[in-house]
């Protein structure tokens, strides 16, 4: 299992999904409210995804669509995907979507995720490349975990690009002093490209 130690994967599995029990379950104190330690069939509950998936696969429970993929959210994403607050709905929106589609045969989730990501991706990059950091906290609070990572990567690539255009730092840092800093990951380099294009565009040489 390649992702066994993946922290994000673990946390994405913790998201609650609504489920209905199809079988009775004995000896389980899942809910504080009942003292009998027994779950009756047809009881509706919210289970963390890791539990819901296994029970669903064994026909002990049936998972239904989590509220973050409901009609209202879909309409909002359709209207203006970039300004929908996905974090409060589900901070692992995309990951959970990819996982849940394997359980529920709802084909529309795929296109929903794609549309949401496309519109938001553009906005995230534009904000990361241009906006002053004082303006962004409000915008950042709308993003899911994955988008935050994207934003940080874009931000650091802008910084690296500016640094490069200025001709690098005037003083070199002694490597013994600078060793605590982590080297910038290779993946960040990809985000330099949009920045280059936009600057080329502004100068009218696109």
């Amino acid at each position: 299992m390649a992702q066994y130690y993946d922290i994000d994967d673990i946390l994405a599995d913790e998201e609650l999904v609504p489920a209905v029990f199809l079988e009775a379950i004995n000896g389980v104190g899942l809910f504080e409210s009942n003292d009998t330690n027994r779950v009756e069939p047809r009881s509706k509950v919210e289970l963390p995804f890791w539990l819901a998936r296994e029970l669903h696969l064994r026909q002990a429970a049936s998972v239904s669509m989590p509220p973050c993929f409901n009609k209202k959210t879909r309409e909002e994403i359709g209207a203006d995907g970039a300004h929908v607050d996905l974090r409060t709905r589900c901070s692992y929106f995309y990951e959970l979507g990819c996982k849940i589609v394997q359980l529920i045969g709802d084909k529309t989730i795929g296109s929903l995720l794609l549309v949401a990501f496309q519109t938001r991706y553009k906005e995230v990059l534009i904000k990361a490349h241009t906006a002053a950091s004082a303006l962004t906290p409000k915008f950042l609070s709308l993003l899911t975990k994955e988008e935050i990572k994207l934003y940080d990567a874009a931000k650091s690539s802008t910084a690296a690009f500016r640094n490069w255009r200025m001709g690098g730092p005037r003083f070199q840092k002694a490597s013994v002093l600078g060793r605590k800093r982590k080297p910038i990951g290779e993946k960040n380099m990809h985000f330099c490209l949009p920045a280059l294009w936009r600057i080329g565009y502004r100068l009218g040489c696109s």
Partner: protein, 192 residues
Amino acid sequence: MYGRKACQLVKEFVSSDSGQLIVFNNDLFAQVIEECDGHLLQLQALLRKMQVEGSDNQTTKNADHFGALVHHLSLVRNKRCLMAYVHNRAEVIQNLGWTIERVLPEEIEEKLSSSEKEYFKNHSATLQSYMSDLDLDLAVDMVPPKDPYIKVRVLEEIGNVVLSDQLANLALHAILFLRRTDAEQYISQVFL
């Protein structure tokens, strides 16, 4: 809800900046293990009950079977959270072995559990012995330098010293062109 505490542990790890550690949460860690013990007891009790009733765990799908299943899944989940917590911390500690020398600074050391301290000690010892086998300090210049020479300014009077390629007079405020490897030891002592 099952698995909640283990998840808290993982969240706590996430809340620290990447590459930084926060104090090893012995308390919560022990609580999760306790929860696991509880699951195991209940799992065994349910399996025994099924045996007494004479039903086969593989074929019958009754309420007890699903109860045992839930406990089993919770155990697996808790295990994964604990493993991920320890594993990801161990990775950070491994990286420390590359960036700082054999002895941990106190402010980091107090954040580690005893087995993590042991791990760091053994890991850096392995690194050191590998480097001495190679006769090469691998931790130097993780980013390749552009020029073997650097320009430095002397901050404190040192006087004449013999360097690997020249005899230099490190007088106060003198600006010199030194070999990077020579300069480094003075820079780390804030002489240059």
